[in-house]
């Protein structure tokens, strides 16, 4: 199954973004807000108060049936059988050669129903990948592409809980981190997940597309006294970078594996066979040659995605994501380096417009929120 995309897709909130004077850009085939008031202001709102993001472009794939759990475990790296009903985890879909198809969030709704949130630009590819494997193995599970049924809002920041709590009967403080529950928000049925992509506390809620505008408006209204700020993809990127969360197409691609991407923690070899396992076993046996590591600029300049990294006058790797860190007031980034150099404290040079600029590798995440 495939769909030709001849024009940009719009989320149900596109008109709302325009009325809020958002700057809209093309992102992965979607017409999306990159910023409203400004990336710095939005970033700081999430770190100190609360921000709301329209992430309706994200895709949803659902797997149902007696072998739903077995299929999820076969197509992904984390151990889905260990999930309890109402629990979610971060995982990855891999190719046989060990490279990433995508990174995903798996939610266990019941023993025979899993709800997977995937990247916007990968959603059809992911669906076809999973459906193909199901069919090859003839597993008793149904793979369904359900993106059109959901809008998704992310409410993130230390004040996310009090804002959303005013709009739901569900006791949000009872939802542990990376757990979720079905309830209502502002009177509309909602899947409320205690997850996020900002390094801050917060919730991601899945609602019907028709509910997106009223729910967005009520949350903005309710959040006013907490300093809520609508946030775009620009702040989403600076926030996730500070928290060292991977972005598909940057840190993780079809030609990088989870060990290289410093994501060994989502690979559960003990669970048995899964797609990509043999390649990962080999990688583990032989050892990977390159690895992701954080860096801070020391010289004047900002290392951006794709820039070369040199060590001792020799090309050594490349920047996968880079930019200013509004929270730390430093210029930070992530890069791939030879594995022996991918440790904190190594002097590197980022090639910025043909000039080497000094930087140093550092421990990550760059930012970690204080536990409440």
């Amino acid at each position: 199954m495939s769909v030709a995309v001849s024009e940009l897709r719009r989320t149900p909130l596109c008109d709302v973004h325009c009325s809020l004077n958002a700057k809209l850009v093309e992102f992965g085939g979607w017409h999306m807000p990159v910023q409203y008031a400004g990336i710095l202001q939005e970033h700081n709102a999430v770190r100190t108060a609360v921000g709301i993001f329209d992430v309706s472009h994200m895709g949803e794939i659902e797997i149902r049936g007696p072998e739903a759990g077995a299929l999820v475990d076969y197509v992904s790296t984390n151990h889905a059988a260990k999930l309890k009903v109402g629990q979610a985890h971060y995982s990855a879909l891999l190719y046989e050669h060990g490279g990433f198809v995508d990174d995903i969030l798996v939610h266990k709704i019941s023993d025979d129903h899993f709800f997977i949130c995937v990247n916007a630009s990968n959603q059809w590819k992911d669906f076809e990948h999973i459906a193909e494997i199901r069919s090859q193995r003839n597993m008793k599970a149904e793979v369904e592409f359900t993106s059109e049924r959901y809008a998704q809002l992310a409410i993130q920041g230390p004040k996310a809980l009090p804002v959303v709590q005013r709009l739901t009967e569900t006791d949000l403080s009872a939802i542990k981190y990376y757990w979720f529950t079905d309830g209502t928000v502002a009177g509309f049925p909602a899947r409320i997940a205690h997850t996020g992509y900002t390094g801050e506390d917060g919730f991601e809620i899945y609602i019907a597309p028709d509910a997106a505008q009223p729910v967005w408006n009520v949350i903005l209204d309710t959040g006013k006294e907490f300093g809520i700020q609508p946030c775009g993809l620009g702040a989403r990127n600076t926030l996730r970078l500070e928290a060292k969360m991977a972005l598909y197409g940057h840190e993780i691609t079809a030609t990088t594996n989870p060990y290289e991407a410093d994501l060994a923690w989502i690979v559960k070899m003990e669970k048995g066979p899964f797609v990509g396992r043999r390649a990962l076993e080999k990688a583990r046996e032989e050892g990977v040659t390159r690895k992701l590591v954080g860096f801070e600029m020391k010289g004047r300049g900002i290392g951006r995605d794709g820039y070369e990294v040199w060590i001792d006058g020799t090309p050594a790797g490349w920047v996968t994501s880079g930019g200013p860190s509004p929270t730390l007031n430093k210029n930070i980034g992530l890069c791939y380096l030879p594995v022996e150099k991918a440790v904190p404290g190594v002097e590197i040079q980022v090639i910025i417009r043909n000039s080497p600029v000094d930087a140093v590798t550092v421990a990550t995440p760059f930012y970690k929120r204080a536990k409440a």
């Binding site: 990159v34 400004g38 990336i39 620009g234 990127n237 004047r300 900002i302 951006r304 200013p324 417009r353």
Partner: protein
């Protein structure tokens, strides 16, 4: 923000103001707005030469880096030190305090090839 009538403008969204054989160069309000929060400005050294249509530096916002093209040719006589410490001034006063460099003009006639304020505003309206 108004576009001073005494300035000349480029299609790459720089402005230049010529007085006494010296041109002051900056980026336009439209440019700063498109870039968003500016966090870093990279400028040439005093005494170096800039060439019309060639890049002489860059402006970085939170989300992206953008090259700056010189509207005129000449020798750099001054750079705006203010932007080293406070690059955000470029968002606040792009046509005034947040100028980028001053250039001793090598070919004063070059200025005639640039857009007037009304033409530039028409240009960004249509862009």
């Amino acid at each position: 923000m108004s576009y001073p009538e005494t300035y000349k403008y480029t299609k790459e969204h720089e402005w230049v103001h010529v007085a006494d054989g010296e041109g002051t160069i900056g980026i336009t309000d439209h440019a700063q707005h498109e870039l968003g929060d500016i966090v870093f400005v990279d400028l040439p050294k005093i005494g170096s030469t800039v060439t019309k249509g060639q890049t002489f530096g860059s402006v970085e916002s939170v989300k992206a880096v953008s090259d700056i093209y010189s509207p005129i040719s000449g020798e750099v006589a001054a750079i705006n030190e203010l932007l080293g410490k406070s690059p955000e001034k470029l968002n606040e006063d792009p046509h005034g305090d947040a100028w980028l460099i001053k250039v001793k003009l090598a070919a004063p006639d070059e200025i005639n090839e640039l857009m007037s304020a009304p033409d530039y505003q028409k240009y960004i309206g249509a862009e």
